[in-house]
Symmetry: C2
Subunit: 341 residues, 2 copies
């Protein structure tokens, strides 16, 4: 049976929300895997005690230390050896767990994952991707979204290869479409790095490693033109955060418009309530908690990272994501493709 | 009296729309300035003949050639000497006009402006900015949005300085707030270029040239945290185009939600019509035609560029922008600040 280590202390609403998510995953899946919850016993056990966990494949492991959002990523792994983060990843390294899940400090998790698990052979730089809203079937994933600055062309090519493999094997997308995010469609456009990346992506396409559709522009992202949007971490992080801020911005605009329309009598109370419900429902494509979190691509093991504000539903879906990554052998496929240079 | 040269052939709806905008600017302003419309006489004159232009400060100048969207920017200025673009900028160079306005090929206008008008002394690279939606008073402008790739720290600093001067003198913003678009708030974050730019912006702040508020992130843009958002042209162009695509994307979501709510009976026909009107009104902050267009900052003259899809209202507002730039002596202020190194 698959064992998944879960960081009970990671996230804005931890440990309560992590416990809820873990128990829900076990119940909903019919105890399909085993979960080891890791955290400070004085915080986790009282909350666990309130639940009926009889018959669930649940273990608890005490970790006296906690990595916080303020910890410096590069040093947390060395200074907090007894944290849930480090202990969870060590379980993976020792093959006592197949995957690790956390909604804590992303930078620290990335650093610790690299330090403890290492890279898949052939990987230049592990990376992290994100989900963007999409109207059509399929997924729109963007890579890199902040783990890597000053990327070289060969880094961007590997990001495209790794994310294509994830989409193909992990998400069942038959022929992922790779777009290079640029300022224009023509091959000669963009920064020096992008100009050098374009022919390398064409070569990877010719070699059958990816399906490269060419340059795409900012307005092509929401149109779903590519399933794999490739960019430097600076661009990706900025677009991701800009995109995440849209629902709140529009919420303010909606509230103002609603008040104006109610005051003027254009909408009665019933219609206003219906319009409000409709407006909230509209943002379903912006709901990325349905994916839970994302794996660090290129790390030699499975380390799933979630948003700090993850709900129990997000935690549950991160656990499913971990299961997915193991069963579909995504890392094995990455190793195979990247070894073949 | 101020003379503004207007490219009658620039834009998706030219020349009809440009003529309408120019005439409206003269009428609305009470003939406050003179306009020289430049374009192909066989296309412009029949349309002009349909209007009553008696008493308006309007001249027409024939230009047999036209720069199209397909023309290569760098060569258009050399191969199409008799185009409205080149003739308009030459009028400015010869001091027969104080400003030039076009909604044509942006790259060609940038190249021709630089070639014909040159740079303001001290300017390393002229730049182009854009407007982003904002809820509060003031403006959110982003610079650079695609004219400059691979920017060096000193380029970014000059962009911040020039846009701050525009906002202060051209737009009446007392104390423009400069934010460096980055992946985190801390000074040490980001790409090598951004790490080097941060202390230079602090120094410019200390020297009283700008009001630097530090790093900002993608989610701070719509919050209006900065009035001047500084970034490389690759990041700015991508954010700008991504932002421009939001209304259409949400329009599809709204239409789907409306159909569902009407079908289920949650909204009757009247409420649906009111909700639709309300939704359309919500996007007022995304309407950048109220600004018309933007000047190339750093060019030694006034060359205003508009979106290809500019309406007559946008053209009219570009003409006002041109008037503004002359009267408020924005370029003189830029020359003063950049000379003072």
């Amino acid at each position: 049976m698959l064992t998944i280590a879960v960081d009970a202390m990671g996230g804005d609403h931890a440990p309560a929300c992590v416990i809820d998510g873990a128990l829900e995953a076990l119940r909903e899946s019919g105890n399909r895997f085993e979960i080891i919850l890791i955290g400070q016993s004085e915080k986790v056990e009282p909350l666990l005690g309130k639940h009926d966990t009889a018959g669930l494949n649940l273990k608890f492991m005490h970790a006296p230390e906690t990595v916080t959002m303020d910890d410096v990523p590069a040093t947390a792994v060395k200074t907090k050896q007894n944290s849930s983060l480090v202990k969870g990843l060590q379980l993976c390294k020792a093959k006592e767990a197949e995957a690790f899940v956390s909604a804590g400090n992303t930078g620290a998790q990335m650093a610790a994952s690299l330090f403890i698990l290492g890279r898949i052979p052939g990987v230049l730089r592990p990376t992290i991707y994100a989900y963007l809203p999409r109207l059509q079937e399929g997924l729109t994933n963007m890579v890199d979204v902040g783990a890597n600055m000053d990327c070289k062309p060969e880094h961007l090519v590997q990001f495209a290869e790794m994310l294509s493999i994830y989409q193909r094997y992990g998400a069942g997308i038959e022929n992922p479409q790779v777009g290079l995010l640029n300022i224009g469609e023509e091959e000669g456009k963009g920064s020096d790095t992008l100009k050098q990346t374009h022919p390398l992506l064409k070569a990877a396409h010719a070699a059958g490693k990816i399906n490269f559709i060419g340059n795409i522009e900012g307005h092509d992202i929401l149109k779903g033109k590519a399933t794999v949007v490739v960019c430097d971490g600076l661009v990706g992080n900025t677009i991701l955060k800009f995109g995440e801020s849209i629902p709140e911005f529009l919420g303010v605009l909606f509230k103002q418009a609603l008040e104006k329309n109610v005051a003027s009598g254009s909408l009665d109370q019933n219609a206003a309530a219906a319009a409000t419900a409709m407006f909230k429902g509209m943002f379903e494509p912006f709901d990325v908690e349905k994916f839970g979190g994302v794996p660090f691509l290129g790390v030699d093991g499975i380390s799933i990272v979630g948003h700090g504000r993850s709900s129990s539903r997000a935690i549950k879906n991160m656990i499913y994501m971990a299961e997915h990554m193991v069963e579909r052998k995504v890392n094995e496929h990455i190793a195979e493709v990247l070894a073949d240079k």
